[in-house]
């Protein structure tokens, strides 16, 4: 079986090195190279895993069967359209785009070109989340009534200044964190979001006010389930890890709470370092990349589609409209 040639198209995202390292270890994958508008970064990322830096996106696409887009959020559309035009399959970092219009354009471009499009939401492969979804499917909580989720973390400027630049990221904490839980909720509830209410502020992370750092989002699903998401960058620099993701599902049979990153060791070293948490949970990124490669090989529907990415972006867009107006915003997605 020929190895699937996969390139990384823009490496600005914090996940790019992890994706490269994981792809490099997959026996049926050959790294095609790395392109980034910063050639120094491209070389650094490429050399770390023994692949090449490409001079242009076109050059990389010519050598790739599939690519992972790990650029700044604003560039997802242009890069995905280029890849689709070159007949290359796409795994696109989340959020799929900075607007629903861009997300739809990506979906259309890939469909027209007949290439596979998957949105890079790793959380469905988090093994704690999988266990939660199984428990709900088995009916352990009875009929689902309500979901409460927290996906909070440090301010991500430590992973790249663009994360907190609204022109490049598309927004702040709401853009950064809402999509993960919005997508997981759709998988748990198996219904679509028809109403979004959100509030936000810029109090957290003293001295920074370019984008919202705190946010709370309330969702209502077509089947009557209601839910909330805390997406705040509320963890200070002294927090023992980057942040976390947890979901509590409440139903007629009681409640189940899942902490996706609770599989950890508590580590104390030098006094000045404080405590840190080291995860021993299964690598969700590895399973997500495996699923992408398998979908490309079999030509099947990827487990996280472009439409899934679009639905999450629509929810983010509605959240910003709600923040601006102070009122709930209605959505009417198909399904």
């Amino acid at each position: 079986m020929a190895r699937l040639r996969i390139g990384i198209l823009s490496a600005a995202h914090v996940h790019a090195p992890a994706y490269l390292a994981l792809l490099a270890r997959m026996e049926d994958v050959a790294l095609a190279g790395v392109w980034d508008e910063d050639p120094v970064l491209a070389r650094e990322r490429a050399h770390a895993v023994g692949t090449v830096a490409a001079a242009t996106p076109a050059g990389l696409l010519a050598e790739s069967d599939a690519i992972v887009i790990a650029g700044v959020n604003r560039d997802h559309r242009a890069l995905a359209e280029q890849a689709a035009a070159a007949g290359v399959h796409v795994l696109c970092e989340k959020p799929l785009a900075t607007s629903a219009a861009d997300a739809r354009a990506i979906i259309d471009a890939c469909r027209r070109a007949g290439v596979l499009l998957m949105t890079a939401f790793p959380s469905p492969w988090n093994s704690v989340v999988e266990a939660l979804i199984s428990a709900v499917r088995e009916g352990q909580v009875g009929e689902v009534v309500s979901l409460e989720g927290v996906n909070t973390g440090e301010m991500p400027d430590v992973h790249g200044a663009w994360f907190v630049d609204p022109a490049l990221a598309g927004g702040g904490a709401v853009t950064d964190h809402v999509v993960h839980l919005a997508d997981l909720y759709r998988r748990i509830v198996r219904s679509e979001v028809v109403e979004v209410y959100a509030v936000a502020n810029r109090i957290l992370q003293e001295g920074f006010d370019r984008v919202e750092t705190g946010g709370l989002v309330a969702l209502r699903f077509r089947n009557g389930v209601f839910a909330t998401i805390d997406c705040s960058w509320s963890k200070p620099r002294s927090w023992p890890t980057w942040g976390g993701l947890s979901i509590e599902v409440l139903g007629t049979g009681g409640a189940i709470a899942a902490d996706a990153f609770r599989q950890r060791l508590d580590l104390w070293g030098r006094r000045e370092d404080g405590a840190s948490w080291r995860s021993f949970g299964s690598d969700a990124n590895a399973a997500m990349l495996r699923a992408f490669v398998d979908a490309v090989r079999t030509g099947g529907e990827p487990p996280v589609t472009g439409e899934d990415g679009l639905r999450a972006v629509e929810i983010v867009e509605a959240a910003y409209r709600s923040i601006a107006t102070g009122a709930p915003v209605r959505l009417d997605p198909p399904g």
């Binding site: 009534v145 409460e148 109090i203 709370l216 009557g224 705040s232 963890k235 200070p236 409440l250």
Partner: protein, 334 residues
């Protein structure tokens, strides 16, 4: 010692708890309950005297401590104020903002003190969280998460607690604790959004609600109230994230004693779940001691009448928001 004498109205869980606390504080206490057997039971347990009527109770007391179902708060408080007795009223102060304001106005006109028993402010983890915020340790409060997840009170169908016309429902009875706590931390609330299972899916008989508050300070709060967890859950959590740090507490993580016993004792929860702390201090006793001290010394207590009224307005706004799907300003509720 000034000669305060307390008349407790109501012989349920809270009446019994308050009577015991007054007795522990050495304050003479008399109890009256609609059901004389309830009053006699509390009297036997606490050493309280009993009164034959509400009028007799009020006549013999200097402080009237109202521990009755919420729909009776207003008439009893107004009667006590008319007799120029200080009033301590269980939360929520009343079932409507109009009634709450009438109680506040009557007490002010009579020149008597009014305290609303938001006992949560006297729980040690809550008081410590407030101190931490006041010390400036986390900077300006920004995003607050408060949770109170209990089992459905083990009361018969038709009990007043389950009748929204008498208790205001779970939101006004239980969630109001954290609505007051959020306001204590981050100041006045300017809008409330809320979804509740009772409104979204009334056929399921589940009492569970999520509310989002906006404060005038710009802070935002997420509050969970629930009677939908399995017994004996009484889970509470606090997370206050600020401009410079975060303070957090979760009753599930903060268990000072764990046990794995072959012969497990009962959970210790009564018919209505309550928050428990393994501290020598008793929040109910500390609360009443603060109110008593405020009366004796003419000072403010940790919870003012205005706080009780503001919490009621936020609670009513949450009820209205859950009913209508609108975002409600607490100032506009009737």
């Amino acid at each position: 010692m000034s000669g305060e004498r307390v008349g407790v109205v109501g012989g349920g869980f809270m009446g019994g708890t308050h009577a015991a606390a007054w007795a522990a504080l050495g304050v003479p206490v008399t109890i009256f309950a609609e059901d004389a057997a309830d009053a006699a039971g509390v009297a036997a347990r606490t050493g309280a005297a009993t009164a034959g009527s509400l009028e007799a109770l009020i006549a013999g007391a200097t402080i009237v401590d109202i521990c009755t179902p919420t729909d009776t708060h207003a008439p009893i408080a107004l009667a006590a104020a008319a007799a120029r007795r200080h009033v301590i009223c269980e939360k929520p102060l009343a079932l409507s903002a109009a009634d709450g304001e009438a109680i506040v106005a009557a007490c002010a006109a009579a020149g008597v003190r009014l305290f609303v028993a938001h006992v949560l402010r006297y729980f040690p983890e809550v008081a410590e969280a407030k101190r931490i915020v006041d010390e400036g340790a986390i900077g300006d409060p920004a995003v607050i998460r408060l949770k109170r997840a209990a089992f459905r009170p083990r009361k018969p169908a038709g009990h007043w607690l389950f009748d929204p016309a008498r208790s205001g429902g779970m939101v006004l009875d239980l969630m109001i604790h954290d609505l007051d706590f959020a306001r204590w931390i981050a100041g006045d609330v300017v809008s409330v959004q809320c979804r509740s299972a009772a409104n979204e899916r009334p056929e399921l008989g589940v009492e569970h609600a999520l509310a989002i508050l906006r404060h005038a300070s710009g802070a935002i709060s997420h509050v969970t109230g629930s009677w939908a967890y399995a017994e004996p859950a009484f889970r509470t959590s606090i997370e206050i994230a600020g401009s410079r740090g975060i303070v957090a507490y979760d009753s599930e993580e903060a268990r000072p004693i764990s046990s794995w016993l072959h012969a497990a004792p009962a959970s210790g929860q009564g018919a209505v779940g309550i928050q428990k702390s393994l501290t020598r201090e008793d929040p109910f006793r500390d609360e009443l001691a603060d109110f008593l001290g405020a009366i004796r010394e003419g000072r403010e207590a940790r919870v003012s009448a205005a706080d009780g009224l503001a919490a009621l307005r936020i609670g009513l706004a949450a009820v209205e928001a859950a009913r209508t799907g609108r975002v409600v300003d607490p100032a506009e509720v009737a």
